[in-house]
């Protein structure tokens, strides 16, 4: 009844999937989580190294968390503390890129006690997770829409580190807010410009230029306003492994950002990739993203929905492209943590405007940042 720490109503999960989502939502909702059967049937049972690293990160940004893991690592009990923030440093495990960790920080950073200034080290760009460049160009403008803006919101790629070696460094800082603003984004608007960044480390600097040319060859058919920066980092700033890649962002007149990215295969894995192919494929991926459409791109769907759910008790609306599996799972998790259900309306396909769109509507749960100090 008067049990401490919400232990009485712990959320129970089974399996290793969506650990990131489960822990960060637990930290936001203040509900304890018990996850059992983490890879209990597999050859390599228990939590993976990158998950352990993530749990350590969660521990760093919170105050008063209780984490219990059994010997084999197959069960995890997490009782969240209060989000503390401040200046933290974290070495991300090279199994996953920094994007994996950064995405969770994006969920949590606005609700900390002190503005978060995180230095994350590890792989900046890989093929699994959204890269820091893409997040910088898409997630940060999205957060601004919810009132998380100002000087503090910044993501800086200090060093670039490619898989598998890593060695990159990213600075992320975010101001804190007590409340989020509701949004109504129902019209994505038309794409007015495409920007991008072609990066290469520990390879010939010419590769970036080759990527740019090939990407432009595809995109120029749609829009003249294209500028792709080339970013060649040298020496100490180039990490431990060679590699190159491209991330593209299309900006619409209403300020929505759609992104696509492609990275070369990590050293020693898979066949080598031609920069021209990579450029072309990435441009095509961007076109796919444009085809999906919506006011937020596919990787940031969950962030947008979370910010909507955590808003004031007002109606928020957003139009997005088709729901990604990750988003669907995220919606289910939102329901179990916050009892919030979105109204999901499919919108008919419009001629020459890409695929099906979905209109998501919800009333915020009236979340307020309980960590922030008032004076």
């Amino acid at each position: 009844m008067a049990g401490g720490g919400g232990g009485g109503r712990a959320v129970r999960w089974e399996g290793a999937a969506y650990l990131r989502m489960r822990l960060s939502l637990a930290a936001l909702s203040g509900r304890a989580v018990r996850i059992t059967g983490i890879r209990s049937q597999e050859l390599n049972p228990g939590l993976q190294d990158y998950e352990a690293s993530f749990i350590r990160l969660m521990d760093k940004i919170t105050n008063g968390s209780r984490i219990e893991i059994n010997e084999t690592g197959t069960t995890l009990y997490y009782q969240p503390g209060l989000l503390h923030g401040g200046r933290i440093e974290h070495d991300c495990h090279p199994q996953r890129s920094i994007g994996y960790y950064l995405e969770a920080l994006l969920y949590l950073a606005p609700f900390m006690k002190r503005p978060l200034k995180a230095t994350l080290r590890g792989i900046t760009n890989d093929q699994m997770d959204p890269s820091v460049d893409t997040l910088k160009m898409t997630a940060l403008p999205l957060m601004k829409r919810f009132g998380i803006d100002g000087e503090g919101l910044e993501l800086k790629v200090v060093r670039r580190g490619m898989a598998p070696g890593g060695g990159g460094e990213v600075m992320f800082s975010c101001p804190v807010r007590r409340f989020l603003k509701p949004i109504q984004l129902t019209d994505p608007g038309k794409i007015k410009r495409i920007r991008g960044i072609a990066y290469s480390v520990r390879v010939s600097p010419q590769i970036a230029n080759r990527i740019v040319d090939s990407a432009r060859s595809i995109l120029n058919k749609f829009l003249p306003d294209i500028y792709i920066y080339t970013d060649h980092m040298k020496g100490a700033y180039s990490g431990k492994s060679p590699g190159f890649g491209l991330s593209l962002v299309a900006e619409t007149i209403n300020g929505t950002f759609l992104s696509a990215e492609l990275v070369s295969n990590p050293q020693g894995q898979g066949s080598p990739v031609l920069p021209e192919d990579l450029g072309k494929n990435c441009a095509k991926l961007l076109l796919e993203e444009v085809y999906r459409g919506g006011c937020v791109d596919s990787i940031n769907q969950s962030l947008a929905l979370l910010c909507m759910a955590l808003g004031q008790q007002d109606v928020s609306k957003i139009q997005i492209g088709s729901l990604s599996p990750y988003t669907i799972e995220f919606l289910r998790h939102l329901k179990s943590y916050f009892q919030i259900i979105f109204k999901i309306e499919a919108q008919p396909m419009e001629e020459r405007k890409g695929g099906d769109k979905v209109l998501m509507t919800c009333i915020g749960v009236g979340f307020s940042n309980i960590s922030k100090t008032v004076t």
Partner: protein, 1235 residues
């Protein structure tokens, strides 16, 4: 007043009207007023000082902005819940009388006993819930948190009492609801002047507490035990037009002021263990904000709970439908007070009592909406008793079964439990109907089975008017003969209350025992179906074949169920099945039913298939074609229409899967279901990247075309296209007349036309005049809109401040909030937004302590306060706190206090501290007397900015002001940073110049190392620094000081020691105590209290004790003035006599005289003579004395005689004088005539 004494009209001498008048008169007179002073003397109006002007402007602007409040989104629902009016006042002030009078005023009804909130309709758009507030701290605190309006009663003959001020302070802390004062007992004043004075005095006191000009009502006297009608009417008017301010806490939290409670615990459990945890349901209007099911609530006085089930009921006290009429119809003046016995219905914790004599208005209303209205009516009209009707009635349970008559059942020899309580069943009925609306099917199925056994329970003769009928009765059962009776019967049984089921189960067992074989086939089946218990019994009693048989039957039944419920939603079915809790067979059915409900909308044929399967083959046949069906379902889900289900439907399925876990089939076989959850997790990587599965070929033209319009280079919508916009602008500005030249310019409508034509051509010739006209119309509308927009922009230009923008934004959001879910039905809305404020809801809670039910007292407020995210957790709270200025004592750190924070009341141990200038949190032993300090407690996480108050105890009443402290929460944390001062003491053992070796401060070199470079201080005030540890002795160190130390100096090291806050969180569980003892809740006692109670006295320090004062005589040495000094002194100051006294000359000394014999003789003679002489003299003296004494006595005698004589003489004279006077008086009286 007389006519002549009326005031004469006073002319206006100032103001615009007077000025105008004056000017008019002057004009008439022809002496026009001088020119405008501003023109006449422009210098006087110029800017004298820019700084001053800036200042005035600044000030004006400041004042203007000060008036602004932060705009908030208006979230009040369209149909708000009744406002909570709390009637508060000290005892015997007339609270209940006032409530009774108000109710009478609004509804023309008289309530006998008022318990709990009374909801009445006070106007066309206004309802209120009146509740009385007792004088115990608990009720006051709870009600202050939910009140919208407080009627603060005061006995004017006595004046304000402490309770009033306490309540005001509580209100202030928890947001300030509207407060209206009411003065009663004004008839006790006999003197009208005194009355006036008292009124004024009280009014001004009230104003200082609330705000200047706060409304204070006077209730002058009583007429037949009630207040005067007119005064109550006025008060009622004020209440019904009052505007309420939104309070932050209330707007951010859902809450229910419960007006009804029911105990739903299984009676069997209670029988087994009287003190088992209970399951209760609570009813009330939802207020505040949206309530989500499964959220956490706090019941002040009981504890925290998770909502088990929430459902909304039809409003028991609805506002009138149409708003046309001027005033309320008499019928619409409803009243709802379930615990007070309105219209003869009293809801108790386990029963509802109906006084049939009473009529109640809202019953009629509700009945009208029901289909069985006429049934009930006919029933009321019938004259035969239920018993006789029961006997003659028949009911068939299934479409194709034989109708049953009660006689048949009686043959079976079932026992008929006698029921004393009249309406028991109806309670359940009402309850069930409300929440498990969807379950009715299942219930009714169940109930059918109960029918036989219960048909005999004939003495359930009461017919509730509120009883309702299943919306689909025909599908479920066929009413054979007397429709009316059957309808009557069914609801009685339709209530599958746990208790009843149990009793029935027992009954059936008996039945089996008695005559097992005689059982009619139908009844047997139905019994098996009726409840799991019965099923078990039957399984035990009957042989295997029969069980199998029954299983089949059960199968069939449940399929019927599915069929009939095909249009119901999935959840409903699930819950239905859960509710019935049948054996494993039913579990299978459950899966089945879920499946079919997944594809509910148009899957009739599929259901039929299942049915045929089941009917023909048997229990396990449903599994056939499962994959096919699943595929169908999946395909359906794939379609965009089912996105919602794709996301959320699947989840519920999974959850259930998890819940079911490992079911056993018939207790033997283990059902191993594929775990979908695990499948899902294996397939997916934890990454938000949405990989493209089937990429388009972007080299193809048509593929590229599919997104062409997503770019600015593509085609724009007509209203945004640049060329059309230009054209429109032309048409807006197109036609105008040049006034100077008289030329008329026209726009180019032709161009527009051309555009249209072009478009039409593109689309193909669908031209018709209609579409053209339509286009024209839209164009015109568009044009108008544009013009209006332009006008608005022009008009609002001056007003376009940040504040206005913000306000507009908020308004827009509010409109959107209202509009978004407005068109949906309640069930769907509830899903998205949660339960809206204004709904009448029913809430089920489990694991409630049994004391709550056994000690339930409806006169205490019962509040369900919703908790936000993580508000159910516990942590450290930092708060700004101030001792209340009226509280007698200052507060001591570590003394437990009872806090009221958020919804909660709890006891905890606060630690007071103050923040030093360097940000250090220094512990205080006591709160400062007139200053804020900070406090840290271990308590429930409550959002920052929430106000709180603290009382030392809630028990009993005391003369003193009970509120000890108030404050606000500043910060929440999981750790504390309070420190207290620690002085380490050391002694020097070796001193060099400025260096000293100190020992005794630490025990080891490690400790010293921790304090290296720390600053030191000595008693004498020397400052120094700790340098380095010494090897020996252990813990000694070298330190340097600013000067040389003395060996007697003591060296201090001032440091800070972190303090732990004790983790005590002890909720005040006042509602769990018997009603008489609620005010006596005591938690942890303070140290002082404990010692006082146990009679323990602290042993004082011996040195601190007082001892008798012994004062010794002081010896002063003689003053010695040196000779030299004496000599130097002036004569005046010189010591004078001492020397003389000191020096006695020789001749002054007495000399011994030796007499000769002669001399001796002479002296002997002389002494003898003198002795004789002395004796003579003495004798003489004695004699004289004697004589004198006699003389005196004689004289006294004479004196006395003289006085006596004189006295008598005086007496005589006075007598004479008196007589003379009398005579004189008499004569003077007569004298007038005489003289």
């Amino acid at each position: 007043m007389e006519e002549g004494q009326k005031k004469a009209h006073r002319k206006r001498h100032s103001g615009p009207k007077a000025v105008r008048k004056k000017q008019r008169r002057l004009k008439e007179l022809g002496i026009e007023d001088e020119v405008d002073p501003q023109k006449r003397n422009p210098k006087a109006f110029t800017v004298q000082s820019a700084v001053r002007m800036a200042k005035t402007f600044h000030r004006a602007q400041d004042l203007k902005t000060k008036k602004h409040h932060i705009p908030v989104v208006d979230r009040t629902p369209l149909e708000p819940p009744p406002f909570v009016v709390v009637v508060m006042g000290p005892p015997k002030v007339g609270k209940s009388t006032l409530i009774r009078c108000l109710i009478r005023n609004f509804t023309k009804q008289k309530l006998s006993g008022i318990r709990g909130p009374v909801t009445i309709i006070t106007g066309k758009k206004r309802r209120i819930s009146i509740i009385e507030c007792g004088n115990d701290m608990n009720s006051m605190i709870d009600l202050a948190k939910v009140a919208d309006l407080v009627l603060m009663l005061t006995d004017a003959s006595f004046g304000f009492e402490m309770e009033t001020f306490e309540f005001l302070n509580i209100c202030q802390v928890h947001g300030f609801p509207k407060i209206m004062g009411v003065l009663t007992h004004l008839d006790t004043f006999k003197n009208s002047k005194q009355l006036r004075k008292t009124k004024k005095r009280l009014k001004h006191r009230f104003w200082t507490e609330v705000y200047q000009g706060a409304k204070l009502f006077y209730l002058s006297g009583m007429v037949h035990g009630e207040y005067q009608k007119q005064e109550i009417h006025n008060l009622g008017r004020f209440i019904s037009v009052m505007k309420f301010r939104p309070l932050v806490w209330q707007m951010a939290h859902p809450y229910v002021l419960a007006d009804r409670m029911e105990d739903l615990t299984n009676p069997e459990d209670i029988r087994k263990n009287q003190k088992c945890d209970r399951k209760v349901s609570l009813y009330g209007y939802l207020r505040g904000t949206y309530l989500k099911s499964n959220s956490q609530i706090h019941i002040p006085g009981v504890g925290d709970f998770t909502l088990r089930e929430v459902g909304f009921l039809p409003d028991p006290c609805p506002l009138p439908e149409q708003q046309k009429k001027r005033s309320l119809h008499e019928k619409e003046k409803l009243i709802y007070a379930p615990m007070s016995g309105v219209g003869g219905i009293v809801y108790d914790k386990d029963a509802v009592y109906i006084d049939l004599g009473g009529s109640h208005t809202h019953n009629d209303e509700e009945e009208e909406q029901r289909p069985n209205y006429e049934l009930v009516q006919s029933l009321i009209a019938t004259h035969s008793t239920i018993d006789t009707k029961m006997a003659s009635s028949k009911v068939s349970l299934f479409m194709d079964s034989k109708p049953l008559a009660s006689e048949e059942l009686e043959e079976n020899g079932y026992l008929m439990p006698k029921e004393e309580k009249v309406i028991d069943s109806e309670t359940g009925r009402v309850r069930r109907r409300a929440v498990f609306e969807e379950e009715e099917m299942a219930e009714s199925e169940e109930d059918k089975s109960d029918t036989e056994s219960e048909a005999e329970i004939g003495n359930q003769d009461q017919i509730d008017c509120e009883r309702e009928i299943d919306p689909r009765p025909i599908k479920v059962m066929k009413l054979e003969e007397k429709e009316a009776e059957a309808a009557v019967e069914r609801p009685v049984f339709a209530d599958a209350d746990d208790f009843e089921i149990d009793s029935e189960a027992e009954v059936t067992v008996d039945g089996y025992d008695d005559e097992e074989d005689d059982l009619a086939c139908e009844s047997e089946e139905t019994f098996m179906y009726s409840s799991d218990k019965i099923l078990e019994v039957s399984a035990m009693k009957n042989d295997v074949e029969r069980t199998l048989n029954s299983k089949q039957k059960v199968e069939k039944l449940s399929l019927n169920l599915v069929n009939s419920a095909s249009d119901e939603s999935e959840n409903d079915l699930d819950s239905t099945v859960e509710q019935t809790e049948e054996g494993s067979e039913i579990m299978e059915n459950k899966m089945l039913s879920r499946d079919c409900s997944d594809s509910e909308e148009c899957n009739e044929d599929y259901e039929e298939k299942i049915r045929s399967d089941a009917e023909t083959i048997g229990a396990l046949k449903w599994k056939e074609g499962l994959a096919q069906r699943a595929a169908d379902v999946f395909l359906k889900q794939q379609s965009v229409l089912n996105l919602q289900k794709l996301v959320y439907g699947a989840v519920s399925e999974n959850e259930e899967e998890d819940e079911e876990g490992d079911d056993t089939l018939g207790g033997i076989f283990h059902v191993n279901r594929p775990n979908t959850a695990s499948k899902r997790k294996n397939s997916s990587l934890d990454s938000s990247v949405f990989h493209v599965k089937n990429p388009h070929n972007w080299d193809l033209e048509e593929v590229m075309n599919s997104i062409q319009d997503c770019f600015v280079t593509g085609k724009w919508e007509s209203e945004k296209d640049a060329s059309t916009l230009l054209g429109e602008d032309d048409s807006v500005y197109g036609a105008f007349e040049d006034l100077e030249t008289g030329e008329v310019h026209t726009g180019q409508p032709g161009e527009l036309k051309q555009n249209h034509e072009g478009e039409e051509d593109n689309e193909g010739n669908v031209d018709s005049r209609n579409t053209e006209e339509e286009l024209e119309r839209t164009k015109r509308l568009e044009k108008k809109r544009k013009l209006k927009e332009m006008f608005d922009v022009d008009y609002d230009n001056g007003e376009g401040t940040y504040f206005h923008d913000l306000k507009d934004e908020m308004q827009k959001q509010a409109q959107l909030n209202r509009a978004e879910f407005d068109d949906q039905d309640n069930e769907t809305r509830v899903q998205y937004e949660g339960f809206r404020p204004g709904m009448y809801i029913r809430v089920e809670i489990e694991n409630v302590p049994y004391e709550f039910v056994t000690n339930f007292d409806s006169s205490y407020p019962l509040i369900l306060g919703g908790l936000g995210n993580s508000e159910g957790n516990i942590g450290y709270l930092q708060m700004r706190l101030k001792k209340h200025r009226w509280h007698k004592k200052i507060l001591k750190t570590r003394d437990p206090l009872i806090f009221s924070l958020g919804w909660r009341r709890f006891q905890t141990i606060p630690m007071y501290y103050i923040e030093d200038h360097n940000g250090r949190h220094r512990l205080l032993k006591y709160t400062p007397e007139h200053m804020h300090c900070s406090a840290t407690i271990w308590g429930p996480i409550t959002p920052q900015g929430s106000g709180f108050l603290a009382v030392p105890s809630v028990a009993g009443t005391s003369k003193d002001f009970r509120i000890a402290a108030t404050g606000v929460v500043l910060d929440l944390d999981k750790s504390v940073t309070i420190v207290k001062k620690l002085k380490l003491v050391g002694f020097p053992f070796k001193i060099y110049k400025n260096t000293a070796f100190i020992k005794g401060m630490f025990n080891s070199a490690l400790e010293v190392a921790k304090f290296e470079n720390a600053s030191l201080r000595t008693v004498s005030g020397l400052r120094g620094q700790l340098k380095k540890a010494l090897r020996t002795p252990e813990g000694a160190f070298r330190a340097s000081f600013e000067d040389k130390l003395l060996m007697s100096d003591i060296v201090f090291l001032r440091t800070w020691y972190p303090v732990l806050v004790p983790k005590l969180y002890n909720p005040v569980t006042s509602l769990l105590r018997p009603s008489g003892e609620r005010e006596t809740w005591t938690g942890m006692r303070t140290f002082g209290q404990l010692k006082h109670d146990l009679g323990i006295r602290m042993k004082p320090n011996k040195d601190s004790l007082y001892r008798p004062i012994e004062r010794k005589m002081k010896h002063f040495n003689p003053l010695h003035i040196p000779k030299a000094l004496q000599r130097a002194l002036p004569f005046k100051s010189k010591p004078k006599n001492q020397e003389k006294l000191a020096k006695e000359t020789r001749d002054k000394k007495p000399v011994a005289v030796i007499k000769s014999a002669h001399e001796k003789k002479i002296s002997a003679l002389l002494s003898a003579l003198s002795t004789v002489n002395a004796y003579k003299i003495q004798k003489q003296h004695k004699k004289e004395h004697q004589q004198h004494k006699e003389f005196l006595a004689q004289k006294r005698k004479q004196e006395e005689a003289k006085i006596k004589r004189q006295k008598e003489a005086r007496k005589k004279i006075h007598r004479m004088l008196g007589q003379k006077e009398k005579r004189k008086m008499k004569s003077s009286l007569k004298g007038q005539t005489e003289a």
